[in-house]
Subunit: 386 residues, 2 copies
Amino acid sequence: MTAVAASWLPLSTGERSVAIEVLVHGPLSRTDLARRLDLSAGSLTRLTKPLIESGLLVEVPEAGTSAEVRQGRPSQPLDVVAESRSFIGFKITEDMVYGVVTTLRSEIVARHDRPLVSHDPSEVADLLAEMTAELARGYPRLAGIGIGVGGFVQERAVVGESPFLHWRDVPLGELVEDRTGLPVVVENDVAALVEAETWFGAGRGLDRFVVLTIGAGIGYGLVLGGRRVPYAEEDRGFGRHWIIDPNGPLTPDGNRGSAVSLLTIPNIRYQVQAATGRDHTYDEILALAAAGDSMPARVIDEAGRALGVLVAQIANFAMPQKIMLAGEGVGLMDVAGKTVEDAIRAHRHPLASPVDLETRVSDFHDWARGAAVLAIQVLVLGVAEV
Amino acid sequence: MTAVAASWLPLSTGERSVAIEVLVHGPLSRTDLARRLDLSAGSLTRLTKPLIESGLLVEVPEAGTSAEVRQGRPSQPLDVVAESRSFIGFKITEDMVYGVVTTLRSEIVARHDRPLVSHDPSEVADLLAEMTAELARGYPRLAGIGIGVGGFVQERAVVGESPFLHWRDVPLGELVEDRTGLPVVVENDVAALVEAETWFGAGRGLDRFVVLTIGAGIGYGLVLGGRRVPYAEEDRGFGRHWIIDPNGPLTPDGNRGSAVSLLTIPNIRYQVQAATGRDHTYDEILALAAAGDSMPARVIDEAGRALGVLVAQIANFAMPQKIMLAGEGVGLMDVAGKTVEDAIRAHRHPLASPVDLETRVSDFHDWARGAAVLAIQVLVLGVAEV
DNA sequence: CATGGATTCTTCCGCGACAAAAGTAAGTGG
DNA sequence: CCACTTACTTTTGTCGCGGAAGAATCCATG
């Protein structure tokens, strides 16, 4: 596997904005683009020409509604050639690596998962290289790899600290680049998910929005002006110091009634086990709660209330236009959705605009997809960022 | 009193950014400006010329440090002619109107206060016109008036709702313009203070910062990307639905342990009165608490803890670069500063960057100055905003 | 089936903003 | 007195955009 020409020609700012607009907002005619980007029709001819010649964009037949009869010269929608390049995204968890192949539009076209048996950096890199080879079958024009890791990542290349892997200053990007010959972007998994949502998901076109994840831990990502706000304690225990109920249940980590102890999957399972003596999976607990089993129902109700308070406070203080809920723990919303909404309402001003809360049913491949989006951003469009 | 030519010539975007930069960041040479605005030296000659000709900027002698011996041609700092125009700012409270005259640089050069005996809109407007005439003495080149009101203000002109004045849809801007012949900007008082801090105060040059005010109520202003984020419930009871301590003291408004009931001046006085049977002023309570009187000390300690939690949560969720504390209630910081800091630390992640908390000792004239800053923004530089 | 109107896109030209380079001004230091 | 440094000005070239005119391609109408 040899290195592929990483990125297209260097794009001018005008060309880049056109490329991103088409990539993110689907097929658009030149006239549409002129309106959206506030440019003249003439400028669009100029800007699109090199993009079409380079193969990034193509003219596509006009969208379906043939019934619609319009006068005038038909528009010539432009679209990115989604399949022209492929990207690989990985999500590394404690015991599994989830991998996907995506198109330029971040649609998942292939999946491949493997158990993670060793946490040794070079062995992990070996595994990622093997999985890359496996995934690459049938997708020859790989342009790059994105890797999402829970933990603190520096320079989009080095894992500065990852508690669950017991890593410190591991140059994962370099390790994988050496083995695959492909450009690699490493990023915190929540950050990657946030970027993916900003470009291709719920956050498209929004100025301020929040991604909140519930799973083994709690993740928080704040996007302002289209950019993610970096913060020092990134993904090293968000919500642990946020005490919702001082009299709440004590959890193994020694915090009483924190958002983490009330909301995360391991702590919910711990609470149910401590009360009933039996170990259940998270899904079982949700089912029991839905069926009215009193003890799980109490724990889940409390979790729903905590989530509502958390969401309300985020809305009060950060004032996002939308809050997106993701992660393996969002099943909570199905069972305790009403509790969450009530709690939100109770902790918001009656005149406040309603919170736009969107729940994304997501599995680990969505995290991997998020990592692939980073590769798209950095490698294709040359979006540099820290 | 006749209308004065309101604003300078329409400025181009380049000229405007130069003007704002000089206005906000004091005297700057062209070379400094070129560096700050990322422009070439040539562009600065071009951009500054019309500004100097129009009288907005002047070349001033180089700054003081004559001891400093440098080679080369001396720089020619530019400065705004601060005294070339004057602005009036008003802050309306329930029983007083506070007025100031400021320079273009928002320095207060005169004050004048009057008791507010009637809440009738036209009588209030009459009073403002009288005070304007009073303040205008000796400051002939008035360019505009800014008015800060607690409540909900629309279009920077109409008081949509103000509970303490019992106003609904009062076109205060128009009323005062009719009486004075001067352009008038009306804005929510917290919003005005936020703008003032963004331009001339602690928020200068920051991308994200928060203004938190404690007084008769709690005020919250969030600035992102140099712009204040508008929100629906603006200044109609921020913090009332934020329950810090579910077992906290009950207050007359029926909320138990909310940020408002724990922190605002009327509620602190109410708590002390309920416990001791005696009515004290806020300053007296602070003094008693500092002296160790147990009951006031407990109330103040609780208030300090509540403030700490509030600040910590703002820092956690909105991630501002700085939080500015203002209002008549900031004396709390002198007495309970340590409690506040402890509470902040307890509710933040240990790895989180420390909260940059700045306390501004402020009286009502600072609110009035904030309103004057709005007049400066809108009338001189044509900064349009909602 | 020709004509005209509508709409989209292309070509071309001019304008404005900017940067880079070259020139001028005003100081310091030997 | 001359070299050197720094600040500013002038000149010139380039880039990107908007606007006007025209080409392409549809529909509607007679």
